[in-house]
């Protein structure tokens, strides 16, 4: 009997994103308050210049992808690595106010909680 695990095959956790379960509130909150975030083309310039990314694995571009997929789990720990130094806004070719996006995500997580600790008790007022 061949042990398939040792052979290099193993069962991966599902990577499916169920859009019925999609928690887009955080994304909507950020986009509503910082419309320039719509313009992101995921070029990764921000990540390349990032001061925090130079010290530790921190990927602003990945944050963008995660939040757009509604994968807010783990976002809190990641987003807290940002030092708000502002290099990203100077290199962004679309002129996105990335620092505001970061601050909004931080605040958004506080308001809505993340995937694991959803807080349905809070109805979101967009202009609060």
């Amino acid at each position: 009997m061949i042990n398939m695990d040792k052979f290099g095959f193993f069962i991966q956790e599902t990577r499916t994103i169920d859009f019925d379960q999609f928690d887009g509130r955080l994304l909507k909150y950020v986009l509503d308050h910082e419309p320039s975030f719509h313009a992101c083309l995921s070029c990764g310039g921000c990540t390349a210049t990032c001061s925090a990314g130079n010290l530790i694995e921190f990927n602003v571009r990945k944050m963008n992808l995660l939040i757009r997929r509604g994968e807010t789990e783990g976002l809190e720990n990641e987003i807290n690595k940002c030092m708000l130094c502002g290099k990203c806004i100077l290199v962004c070719p679309r002129g996105i106010n990335i620092r505001n996006v970061i601050m909004l995500i931080k605040k958004g997580i506080l308001i809505f909680g993340t995937e694991k600790k959803l807080r349905p008790d809070l109805t979101y007022n967009y202009y609060a």
Partner: protein, 610 residues
């Protein structure tokens, strides 16, 4: 003779006002920290109180600072405040002289012309009534200007004037009515009893020619008293609360009380001291980008009304131009930062990932800063200068280093900033350096103010280079070009360094002196303190500042901030240099070189640093 019920509104108003103001003062004092209370206790009987009284007189009554900024506006405020003050003082003296006692009902001086109807045979009464009429005219001229200001603020050289809420409107209208009504009341009385002088008597005679003054005088005195009463009752909940609050603020400030990182009642005193004069509106550069609701006066108003939003709070460049012109001297920047700290308390970062970096022993530490890493020309120049001058330096953030913490501080993330500060502080202290040279004014400010570096001298590179040139370690060569020096906000208004860069630059180039420089210099628009502003809006602010500079036709712009350089060079064809580049360039072109350092120079050419 009518009864005297008409003085009741005035009396009620004064009593209400006195109680409310006293309660607020007590509440504010109680809310201060224990040390601050001791400070008050220890200074109250020293000459600090005298200094405060003097300042309250010059600023609260004469409004010297407003005069300096805008003479017409200054006259308006002075005629109202100082004129009214004199009316009260002279009124009291007049009453004392008339009654020959100091025990008279306290409403007597206010309604003197109603009670004293005979043209007294005392010689001095003519002098008094003349003075009182003159003062009334003085105040009325101020009221007239106030009307005009509401109608056409441009007349005052002000583009804007503040918007009002309902409490303010009641107070404003009653204030506007007080003196015209006083004029009418005194004129009517004069028309009947001939107790007026050069202003009220002719007016009284004129009115008596077509009005039934006998029936009208009493109602007009009632109206006068009512307007006073309304004003005093509306005052605590309107912007006119600034009158008592400002005096209180002047005292606290002179007693050595300062803003803390968190809000306390001292910040509240400053909020209440804002008279909403609107001077900060005109000076704000956000106007150039059509952002018109986030200026300091509106933030203070929102703090008072408890409806401050993030959009208002964070949309500010923290350039400090408003603080510079504020006639009350409110610390608008720090006040805004404390509000930001309060509003983001619940989401801060820990930066647990920070590891103790490599430490190098050196005499001088060079910290370029994040922004400088985006302007490699500055780093290259500084490296070149260090090598040329033969200095044993450690480039702290050449490869890896955390941010200085200032951008977090500006964003209100105080706890997070503290983590970075502790980390960097340790690195700097352990390196045993005596000097810390910083290329970025944003870093410079936080190193100066929030780091605890006992033996390490923090220097901005413009200061440091000046020192090198003065010690003759690097020689300067003057080139026949004229430039404009742009003061970075954090270095100029933020840290008070205006002269050192200019002194250094004068050794290399000619500086064109311009209207808006030093304390009044522009912000480049790139400031990291503004979290909310859009890139397009930043561009508008930058272009406006650039246009002002271009009017003087400089050969190029020089600044000492990487962010200013980066922002400006994006916007125009004019060359923008950092002060370090000018110095480094001169080393390259200079004919007179220090001979002993020749080997250093060759090394430079080999490594292509210059």
């Amino acid at each position: 003779m009518h009864n005297e019920y008409f003085i009741l509104p005035f009396k009620i108003g004064v009593a209400y006002l006195a109680i409310i103001v006293a309660l607020r003062f007590i509440k504010w004092t109680m809310g201060l920290s224990k040390i601050d209370k001791i400070r008050i206790w220890k200074s109250i009987l020293t000459n600090k109180s005298l200094i405060s009284i003097r300042e309250a007189f010059f600023e609260g009554l004469l409004h010297r600072k407003i005069f300096r900024i805008n003479p017409v506006l200054g006259y308006m405020h002075m005629s109202l405040a100082f004129g009214w003050f004199l009316l009260i003082v002279v009124g009291h003296i007049e009453t004392i002289v008339h009654t020959r006692s100091i025990l008279f009902p306290f409403h007597m001086p206010i309604f003197f012309r109603y009670f004293v109807t005979d043209k007294s045979d005392v010689y001095i009464s003519g002098v008094f009534s003349f003075t009182m009429d003159l003062l009334l005219l003085f105040v009325l001229s101020g009221v007239g200007l106030a009307y005009l200001k509401r109608l056409r603020s441009r007349f005052f050289g002000m583009r804007k004037t503040t918007n009002l809420k309902s409490g303010d409107k009641i107070a404003l209208i009653s204030l506007w009515l007080i003196f015209p009504l006083r004029f009418l009341a005194e004129s009517f009385s004069a028309g009947i009893c001939n107790n007026g002088n050069f202003l009220t008597q002719p007016a009284g005679n004129f009115f008596s020619s077509f009005l039934p003054l006998d029936n009208l005088t009493y109602p007009v005195w009632w109206a006068y008293s009512l307007s006073l009463g309304f004003f005093f009752i509306a005052l605590p909940n309107s912007r006119y609360m600034h009158i008592p609050a400002e005096i209180f603020f002047i005292f606290l400030r002179n007693f050595g009380i300062r803003l803390k990182k968190r809000c306390n009642t001292y910040s509240l005193v400053q909020v209440y001291s804002c008279s909403r004069c609107g001077i900060c509106l005109d000076t704000c550069q956000l106007n150039h980008a059509d952002i018109k609701t986030t200026q300091s006066v509106y933030v203070l108003k929102s703090i008072r009304n408890k409806n401050l939003t993030d959009e208002t709070l964070f949309n500010c460049l923290l350039c400090g131009r408003c603080q510079q012109v504020c006639p009350v001297g409110i610390e608008l920047n720090d006040l805004r930062i404390t509000q930001r700290i309060e509003s983001t308390l619940q989401y801060n970062s820990s930066y647990d990932y920070l590891k103790k970096g490599e430490i190098q022993k050196a005499d001088v530490i060079y910290f370029a800063g994040c922004m400088t890493h985006l302007t490699p020309a500055i780093i290259k120049s500084m490296k070149g200068i260090f090598t040329y001058a033969g200095i044993n330096y450690w480039f702290m953030d050449e490869d890896k280093a955390p941010c200085c913490g200032r951008p977090l501080m500006q964003a209100g993330q105080f706890d997070a900033a503290q983590k970075l500060i502790l980390n960097n502080q340790q690195l700097i202290t352990l390196s045993g350096a005596k000097q810390l040279v910083v290329s970025c004014p944003i870093c410079y400010k936080v190193f100066k103010e929030d780091y605890v570096l006992h033996d390490v001298e923090v220097k901005h590179h413009s200061e440091y280079l000046l020192e090198l040139v003065e010690k003759n370690i690097i020689k300067s060569v003057k080139i026949p070009e004229s430039i404009i020096y742009h003061d970075p906000c954090e270095l100029g208004r933020g840290s008070g360094i205006y002269e050192q860069p200019r002194e250094l630059l004068r050794k290399y180039v000619d500086i064109i002196s311009i209207k808006d420089e030093k304390e009044n210099s522009y912000c480049c628009g790139g400031s990291l303190a503004n979290i909310k502003i859009q890139m397009q809006e930043r561009d508008k602010i930058r272009n406006k500042a650039l246009n002002e500079y271009m009017k003087y036709r400089p050969d190029f712009l020089v600044t000492s901030c990487p962010l200013c350089k980066k922002t400006f060079s994006k916007g125009s064809n004019i060359l923008v240099y950092d002060i370090a580049e000018i110095v480094a360039k001169s080393i390259k072109t200079g004919k007179e070189r220090v001979k002993t350092l020749k080997h250093a120079q060759e090394a430079l050419y080999q490594t292509e640093l210059i």
